[in-house]
């Protein structure tokens, strides 16, 4: 029965994707991307990936929509040009689809426990997590400890992307006159909408609190630094949308955000170096405390904190970079 639900959701997913590509209004496309992301997350949930669904929910439906809208406000929302080489493109795409579908007949069936994927490291992680790390959420265990190098790399990619956006968008624009419309105060936010403003202000602390819960409960349930970073960034973005961007920058100035971006990545690296100084390998948490398992717990909490701080900082920096460019 569950697999039928999955099939239904996947069909909706394909329809949404077709509509996104087909529509001419970029604004409609971005809104449909929100639906696409919700569907995607529901699918992840049905496929037993609670952590991934949480990430997709926090990032895809919220932050991604906000960023795309911020870019649309700066570039215009109508697609003008006709598609180029439509027939060739369609031909290539159809042939490739058929080839990939033909290839799938050799793949193991959905949910097959004998599939090659489940033969190698996956079962080992599941088996060793209670013994070596002793936290219930094996996703967090693999993310933070078994594959700590990977995650360190990903954090630095996020960090680099954030720095890149700041570089690109903090250059002074020559084409844009300083203020096209001096009468309108830039970034006023939704001050005229009383109801959302009052309710939104009421909600922000709870969203924040929930972000912290996701951050520190990541060892026991779905959650962790990546998700928490996105949720906390979403809370601040909500504040910026309701009260105006200037107000949000007064609460969390750009300088602080830049420190957060660098500080989180550094905290992650520092945990690794601390392991080396205490006589272990890089990112070896066993030596952080007298008991190896307690050391693992400390290490995972610290690196998740680093991840969370960096993700929050980068997402907010990117948001402010787009917002400062336009008037959103």
């Amino acid at each position: 029965m569950i697999i039928l639900f999955g099939v239904f959701l996947l069909t909706l997913l394909v329809i949404t994707a077709l509509a996104i590509v087909q529509t001419e209004s970029l604004f409609a496309a971005v809104i449909l991307t929100g639906i696409f992301s919700l569907l995607m997350a529901a699918n992840f949930f049905l496929l037993d990936a609670a952590d991934v669904a949480l990430t997709e929910a926090a990032i895809g439906a919220g932050i991604s929509t906000v960023l795309f809208l911020g870019a649309l406000a700066l570039t215009g929302e109508r697609e003008r040009g006709k598609s180029t080489n439509r027939l060739i493109a369609l031909g290539v795409v159809t042939v490739t689809t058929l080839i990939v579908i033909y290839a799938t007949f050799d793949k193991p069936r959905h949910g097959d426990a004998e599939a090659p994927v489940h033969q190698h490291v996956g079962p080992w992680y599941l088996e060793k997590t209670p013994e070596l790390i002793d936290i219930p959420n094996s996703v967090t265990a693999v993310l933070g400890s078994f594959r700590g190098y990977d995650t360190l790399g990903e954090v630095f990619v996020v960090f680099t992307a954030g720095i890149g956006v700041l570089f690109l968008l903090s250059a002074r624009s020559a084409a844009r006159p300083e203020s096209a419309n001096p009468s309108a105060e830039p970034g006023q936010g939704l001050r005229h909408y009383l109801v959302p403003r009052v309710v939104g202000r009421l909600l922000i602390p709870f969203v924040f609190l929930f972000g912290l819960y996701v951050q520190f409960h990541g060892d026991y349930g779905p959650g962790g630094g990546f998700q928490a970073g996105a949720i906390i960034a979403a809370a601040v973005i909500l504040y910026a949308l309701l009260e105006g961007e200037g107000q949000a920058l007064r609460a969390l100035p750009m300088d602080v955000l830049k420190w957060l971006v660098a500080g989180g990545a550094l905290l992650y690296g520092a945990v690794g170096v601390a392991g080396m100084l205490l006589g272990g390998n890089f990112l070896d948490y066993n030596v952080l405390a007298s008991d190896p398992i307690a050391g693992q717990h400390i290490g995972i909490i610290l690196i998740e904190l680093g991840v969370g701080i960096t993700v929050t900082g980068v997402l907010l920096c990117v948001f402010h970079a787009f917002a400062a460019r336009g008037k959103l």
Partner: protein, 93 residues
Amino acid sequence: MYYAVTLATLVTMALALVRALLGPSIYDRILAVNMFGTKTVLFLSVVAFLFGRPDFLDLALVYAMINFIGVIAVLEFIRVRAENDISEKGAGS
């Protein structure tokens, strides 16, 4: 019984999707997204019980929050766009 409720939410998600595709105005699309979000929250809550893992309700909570933020962001975008339109017309005349 859980299955029946899940089925109802799934069908409604499809209906909301049709509304989002048809439009016609942007507000209809936003309405559809908002509706879709609420239905996803209900879907997740019910399916979490169906799976016997009710600790995954955290997910539904995140959805409820993020959905609201998304709608607010879209409205803010529309407001900014309307203001820009007015100021451009003012400059043109």
